[in-house]
């Protein structure tokens, strides 16, 4: 994945210039955030469960090689196929090959950010295969040629009216902004897709190592349909998405839905064990699980490995005041919000290094993360990594050098204070600066800057202790 043509700053300006979209995003995210808060408040022993969940993730990742082997063995003994994909290319090639070999015409997809990450749809479509997103939000994104703006709620940025217009335009139905009507339209449209599809493709919320089971969580039941009706089910799983046991899975599920939407449990939590067996009435004839690395093994074992604990609940996005202000698209990456600001530079490279700076380190994300990932701490580490490599802008490096020399020397610090006072005396107007130069411009675009006090605290202290 590479950064889009527009710079991050341009995307931010664009996002802020669209108040309607920003309102939709802020309202949607805040509603989810509040739902989460009330669901957690009535969840007994929330903190203990959270601690346990973190522990489960930590243990899984510390022995990931073992659990992955166990998982793969179990999947194979259930009759599934396992493919280890190093990167997006390998993964897409493998799925294309199956599709070609099995003469697949139509693919029904459940929502999966991982397949967004590797642009699987585009790759299949390039081989002439019809791919239909079956999650309502993703379907609307696909219809309108857009990108998901939130890892859980793909159309967080859209209003009901906008959705109604997309339907009217693309599906030739009369305009309506009533959710029930819109739902009915999609339901009718989707039934056919589910029945006709040759292949179902999904992500994986959790793989259970002890049994080789896959857990798929959806609210619409589309995950269940695409993993049971089509002949072939392909599940693409990030290599970190394992839990050791079913009991561990139950801990994670208790937190996942509550964190994501405030539900006690998602409407459909499916645990799928292998393809259809003899005498079974449903299930795919073939099950392929693609275990994808795509940069994850490079994070493992580093000081940033904690980000791999993430269960993609989206709670940190909903809590983040920066996300509320600019929405998901401005980040430019499939992963937005605090988790995206950490993941994007790690998975997709240095062109994403500005993202970790888009945070005030307010800590709202860490407070809600169900596996207690220290997101502000990871953002700081990424910033440190960047400055260590000397990649910060020149004004920043220069400024930091001057700042450090001055603050390590009280005499220089006193001098700097006096200089500031002098500048304030000459240039400030009624104790304020309304226009600042150079890198300070951004500040004065929206707020005034105070003049320095004409007597600093240390000067006052000196005077009073002498006098």
């Amino acid at each position: 994945m590479t950064a889009t043509e527009l710079s991050f700053y341009d995307r931010i300006s664009d996002a802020l210039a669209n108040p309607e979209g920003q309102l939709a995003i802020a309202a949607g995210a805040r509603a989810k955030h509040m739902n989460r808060a009330s669901a957690m408040a009535e969840f007994p022993n929330m903190e203990i469960t959270r601690e346990r969940a973190r522990h489960i993730r930590a243990r899984t990742l510390s022995q990931l090689d073992y659990f992955l082997a166990q998982f793969a063995d179990n999947v194979e003994s259930l009759g599934g196929h396992v493919f280890w994909a190093k990167d997006a290319k390998e993964c897409n090639r493998y799925i294309n090959e199956i599709a070609r070999a099995q003469d697949v015409q139509l693919v029904a997809k459940a929502k999966s950010m991982l397949t967004e990450e590797i642009s699987l749809n585009e790759s299949l479509q390039a081989s002439g295969i019809n791919v239909v997103e079956t999650d309502l939000g993703e379907f609307i994104v696909q219809l309108s040629g857009d990108k998901p703006s939130h890892i859980i709620a793909p159309i967080l940025h859209m209003t009901r009216q906008q959705v109604g217009n997309v339907f009217k335009e693309k599906l030739n139905v009369p305009f309506s902004d009533d959710p029930a009507t819109l739902n009915a339209v999609v339901r009718a449209h989707m039934r056919e897709i589910f029945l006709k599809a040759d292949m179902g493709i999904s992500g994986v919320n959790f793989g259970v190592a002890e049994s080789g089971a896959l857990c798929l969580v959806t609210n619409e039941g589309n995950g269940r349909l695409i993993s049971t009706t089509p002949r072939i089910h392909v599940a693409v799983m990030g290599m970190e998405r394992l839990v050791p046991t079913l009991v561990d899975l139950s801990t994670m599920l208790q937190l996942l839905a509550r964190s994501a939407t405030g539900q006690k449990l998602s409407v459909y939590s499916n645990v799928l064990c292998g393809p259809r067996r003899e005498n079974e009435s449903d299930g795919p004839e073939e099950l392929h699980i693609v275990i994808l690395d795509n940069g994850r093994s490079q994070i493992l074992g580093t000081s940033l490995a904690e980000i791999l604990y993430c269960i993609r609940c989206g709670a940190c996005l909903n809590a983040c005041p920066v996300f509320h202000s600019i929405g998901g698209h401005a980040y430019g990456s499939v992963y937005s919000g605090p988790v995206g600001s950490v993941l994007s530079p790690l998975l997709f490279g240095d062109s994403w290094n500005l993202l970790p700076h888009a945070s005030t380190l307010c800590g709202a994300c860490k407070e809600v993360c169900p596996v207690d990932i220290d997101l502000p701490g990871l953002l700081l580490k990424l910033r440190a990594k960047e400055s260590e490599k000397g990649e910060s802008p020149l004004w920043m490096r220069l400024g930091q050098w001057i700042y450090a020399v001055t603050t390590c020397n009280p005499i220089l610090f006193g001098l700097a204070l006096r200089t500031g006072q002098l500048i304030s005396r000459i240039l400030a107007n009624e104790g304020w600066f309304t226009k600042l130069p150079g890198p300070l411009q951004g500040w004065s675009a929206q707020r005034d800057f105070p003049a320095l006090a004409q007597s600093s605290f240390r000067q006052m202290w000196d005077k009073s202790s002498k006098g």
Binding site: A41, V322, S359, L361, C362, A364, Q446, S456, W461
Partner: protein, 292 residues
């Protein structure tokens, strides 16, 4: 001695029985409840061994822009039996470097601050949640592999307190006889709120200010968008966040906005001035020092 221990045990027991944390309490509430018990015990101890000397780490921004906040802190603590010292070699806590990822610079400044305070007596009081957080949580982490400074950092972190934390938790004060006529709303600054759990301390102190009418701030826990260098590097986002915060402040109907960090105060004050608003912005120490 034995009777004192018995007293403490008794108070602890009573506090425990009378203050059980509600079953459905949030972690923050539970923490608060537990610390009330803890404080009841500590207060007894504190009254016996009142702190006599404390060091003021005034923070660079108070020093340069809002010296009246430092003066207020000094006079409040003086009135409550604390002699305040101001080590004149102090400069800045290193947050601008640390938060930008310039760890080499941050370490140098941290070492300087540690040197300034190492041979001073008593607790170190800081009128800022984020600077306290820096010293208490980040100094030890930053210097953990420094053979000389790791221990010094830990020692300093153990004796450093945010201003309201010091008043309530260390001195056991909840009402300091302040009097402020106004309709106020309180913005909990992020680092103090989330990293130091400053909830109960400022609210108790403000509740006891005579004539102070308090109104709720909608979405109070949302960040104001300051974030230090963030406000320069991501000034547009910062400005958008500030706008939302100030809308909420205006919605609250308050005529004075109170906060505990002058960085956020400078940000919100600058934004309000740009809007032409009459709402005043004050550091909590300024409110508490008002005793007409």
């Amino acid at each position: 001695m034995e009777t004192r221990i018995a007293n403490i045990a008794f108070v602890a027991f009573v506090a425990f029985v009378t203050h059980p944390a509600p079953v459905n309490a949030s972690p923050r509430q539970k923490w608060t409840e537990n610390s009330i018990i803890f404080q009841s015990i500590m207060n007894i101890k504190m009254t016996k061994t009142t702190q006599s000397t404390a060091q003021l780490l005034v923070t660079c921004m108070v020093d340069a822009i809002y010296p009246q906040v430092g003066t207020a802190v000094k006079s409040i603590l003086n009135k409550n039996g604390c002699e305040m010292k101001f080590p004149p070699q102090q400069t800045c806590c290193a947050q601008p470097a640390f938060n930008a990822g310039f760890l080499k610079q941050a370490r140098a400044i941290a070492r300087h601050t540690i040197d300034v305070f190492t041979n001073t007596a008593g607790p170190v009081v800081v009128p800022s949640g984020s600077c306290t957080d820096m010293i208490v949580h980040h100094y030890p982490e930053l210097l953990k592999s420094d053979p000389v400074y790791s221990l010094k950092a830990k020692k300093l972190s153990e004796r450093t307190f945010e201003f309201t934390q010091f008043l309530v938790d260390k001195l056991g004060l909840t009402n300091i006889g302040a009097n402020y006529n106004g309709r106020a709303t309180y913005h909990p600054c992020c680092h103090g709120l989330r990293n130091l759990n400053l909830v109960r301390q400022p609210s108790t102190l403000l509740d006891n200010v005579k004539d102070l009418e308090q109104v709720a701030l909608p979405c109070a826990e949302d960040c104001c968008g300051f974030g230090g260098l963030f406000s320069l590097r991501m000034s547009e986002i910062s400005g958008a966040m500030l706008d939302k915060k100030l809308n909420h402040v205006e919605e609250s109907g308050a005529n004075v906005l109170i906060a505990g960090d002058v960085g956020c105060i400078m940000h919100m004050k600058g934004g309000l001035r740009r809007r032409g608003s009459n709402i005043q912005v004050k550091h909590i120490a300024e409110i508490l020092n008002d005793c007409h």
